[in-house]
């Protein structure tokens, strides 16, 4: 008798779990920035390259997940969050990993050395960026609970608190960035100009990781505001 059945067909593939899996992958990728920068500070280029490759692999995997999820969200799907909102959040999630890959690629490509004066602060910045992506992951992990409660009530408050914390972490990274820039400014005349230019660029790119992570939260907030 029947093997295929229509009752099971009416339930579309829920996008929630894949969204969370994707964010997890993104965070795995971003958190590799910590060992990566440890190796950069130690100027162990073999290790730097190995970590860069790992970051690149994870970013590719996240890309694949993103594509799969996009293909599994046909227009005939009836969801309580709009399809375009979900896809936008997904794109932003993905860009967090992209930024991490950019930073790693730039540093390895130019074999950039961090000046001693900023190395310590830089590692703090990287740590905070990873924190931001971690907080974004924790927030996205609440998506299934949000679905359960129909995006209402105490769960919304909880998620809003998480988003606030994410904003705070991002503000932290801005502060650290300013500190690094002013320190770099003091020593920039003693350094090769090209090197300095790229250092400024890489600082900005690193900050972008936290910026994008924050955007994941802000976009989610738009879903909650009705």
């Amino acid at each position: 008798m029947a093997v295929s059945n229509y009752m099971s067909g009416i339930f579309g593939n829920s996008p929630v779990k894949p969204m969370q899996v994707h964010m997890e992958k993104v965070h795995d990728c971003v958190s590799l920035l910590i060992p990566f920068f440890e190796a950069v500070v130690a100027e162990d280029w073999g290790k730097v390259e190995k970590n860069q490759q790992k970051i690149s692999t994870l970013e590719n995997e996240a890309d694949t997940l993103k594509k799969e999820l996009r293909l599994n969200l046909p227009k005939g799907l009836f969801m309580q969050v709009s399809r375009s909102d979900l896809l936008e959040i997904l794109t932003i999630q993905d860009s967090v990993a992209n930024k991490a890959k950019d930073v790693a690629g730039l540093i390895l490509g130019r074999k950039m050395v961090l000046p001693k004066a900023i190395a310590n602060d830089y590692q703090k910045l990287v740590q905070r960026c990873v924190d931001a992506s971690d907080q974004a992951k924790v927030t996205i992990n609440e998506l299934d609970e949000l679905v359960e409660t129909g995006f209402r009530g105490s769960e919304v408050k909880l998620v809003q608190k998480m988003i606030k914390k994410l904003d705070k972490i991002e503000a932290d990274t801005d502060k650290i960035q300013r500190k690094i820039r002013s320190k770099l400014f003091e020593i920039e005349t003693d350094m090769p100009p090209l090197e300095v230019m790229f250092l400024y660029k890489v600082i900005e790119s690193t900050g972008d990781v936290a910026d994008q992570a924050q955007r994941v939260g802000s976009r989610l907030q738009l879903l909650l505001a009705r």
Partner: protein, 421 residues
């Protein structure tokens, strides 16, 4: 008239056999739809689901199926003009049974979403138009039935929406969902128990030979509801708040409380399904039996013999045992989206609608009603994703099922007529 008296036992055997065949088809496939939501939400294992289905489908058919059987037996065809040729009605009913059974078998093996109700109505109307004439069909009644097919999913959707919103408001959206679940879930259990027992008392027990007054009905229903609630409460109180479960999904413990409720609504669903869909299978059997017993006189008042309902119940159970578990396993594995809190809302709404329809004698589609209820939960923002294309196909399919059942019935009707002369 002679034809009927000559072939009395042959007609009875054929009717019984075809009825069993159709009930078997329902048990093998249709029941799985009604029960798969419970299996998918992991509130029940497949083995338990089969046992519950067998017991409650059977009791639903026997206790509350009488009204729908009556509608199928004599509500659709206006038998007034058939007094001289009652054998036509016998051929027709046999043909309708065979047609609906075959159509179910074909559709199920292809995975088409068809409704048992729609196929049997289509078959009966089909043979009546061609075999007897347009005037033979009680169009008022048929129009009413078709209207109920549109209304029942809508009604179930609205009820499911309200139930799920109340669950969100009272339990899920609160600071302490676990405590609130323990507090409010027994009330839902009471509602389910009360509703099912009330319909059974009002509509069902007459067939078993018990007469009760309205007041008695309500008080008995309250008592039954309270008993079921007490049993449910006992099991709920044994559930511990499991901290380790809550790491990934905050509502894991809450859902366990709903799991108890889901078992009750699964019983309700099986009961409702039995009361409506089984009646579809045995309605034509009952018609044949009534004609044969009265030696060809149509429209005689006759009690529905209990063995006719028993055939329906038995057919379902056999179908379930042979194929139902496989279907249930496949469907259940795929429906992971229905957590107990959502599944119960859909099941309770669908069961309520179907049982009420059964009580008023309206044959409606359980599957369509359940789909309507699931949509209702989705509307309450309680479902992550629903596939609208599939839902559209399900509702489209009943338009195709009507002529399909009709044409098959016409073929079988003339075959039978040819054989018996």
């Amino acid at each position: 008239m002679n034809i009927i008296i000559e072939n009395a036992s042959l007609f009875l055997i054929l009717a019984g056999f075809f009825g069993l065949f159709m009930a078997w088809g329902i048990g093998a496939n249709d029941v799985a739809n009604a029960m798969a939501t419970s299996v998918g939400s992991k509130a029940l294992t497949i083995k338990h689901a089969i046992i519950i289905a067998a017991v409650f489908e059977f009791s639903g058919a026997v206790l509350a199926g009488g009204e729908v059987t009556k509608t199928i037996r004599k509500g659709i065809i206006d038998a007034g003009g058939l007094a001289a040729t009652p054998e036509l009605l016998v051929y027709g009913m046999l043909a309708a049974l065979l047609a609906a059974g075959c159509w179910l078998l074909i559709a199920s093996s292809k995975g088409w979403p068809v409704s048992t109700t729609h196929s049997i109505i289509g078959a009966i109307v089909g043979f009546a138009i061609v075999g007897i004439g347009m005037h033979a069909v009680n169009w008022g009644k048929v129009g009413f039935i078709v209207a109920s097919w549109v209304v029942s999913p809508l009604l179930a959707g609205v009820v499911a929406f309200s139930i799920f919103r109340s669950v969100q408001k009272l339990i899920l959206d609160t600071e302490n969902p676990f405590e609130n679940a323990k507090k409010y879930v027994p009330i839902y259990i009471f509602m389910a128990g009360f509703m099912i027992s009330l319909v059974t008392l009002v509509k069902g027990l007459k067939h078993v030979g018990l007469e009760t007054t309205t007041m008695e009905n309500y008080s008995y229903a309250v008592v039954v509801g309270l008993i079921i609630m007490a049993i449910g409460k006992y099991f709920i109180n044994r559930i511990q708040f499991d901290q380790s479960l809550n790491k990934d999904f905050h509502y894991a413990s809450v859902e366990k409380v709903f799991g108890v409720l889901m078992i009750v609504t699964a019983c309700a669903m099986a009961f409702a399904h039995g009361s409506n869909d089984v009646a579809n299978a045995v309605g034509p059997v009952a018609a044949v039996v009534s004609i044969v017993h009265n030696d060809g006189a149509i429209g005689q008042k006759s009690v529905l013999p209990i063995w006719v309902l028993l055939i329906g119940g038995a057919g379902i159970v056999i179908g379930l045992m042979m194929y139902g578990h496989k279907v249930m396993a496949t469907v259940g594995r795929k429906i992971t989206e229905l957590t107990p809190s959502r599944g119960f809302a859909a099941e309770l709404a669908a069961a309520t609608t179907v049982v009420m329809a059964s009580g008023t004698g309206l044959p409606i589609s359980t599957t369509h009603t359940l789909v309507g209820a699931v949509l209702g939960v989705g509307m309450a923002r309680g479902m992550a994703a629903l596939n609208l294309t599939v839902i559209r196909n399900i509702f489209m399919s009943w338009i195709i099922t009507l002529p399909a059942g009709g044409i098959l019935a016409i073929i079988f009707f003339f075959t039978l007529k040819g054989i018996f002369g």
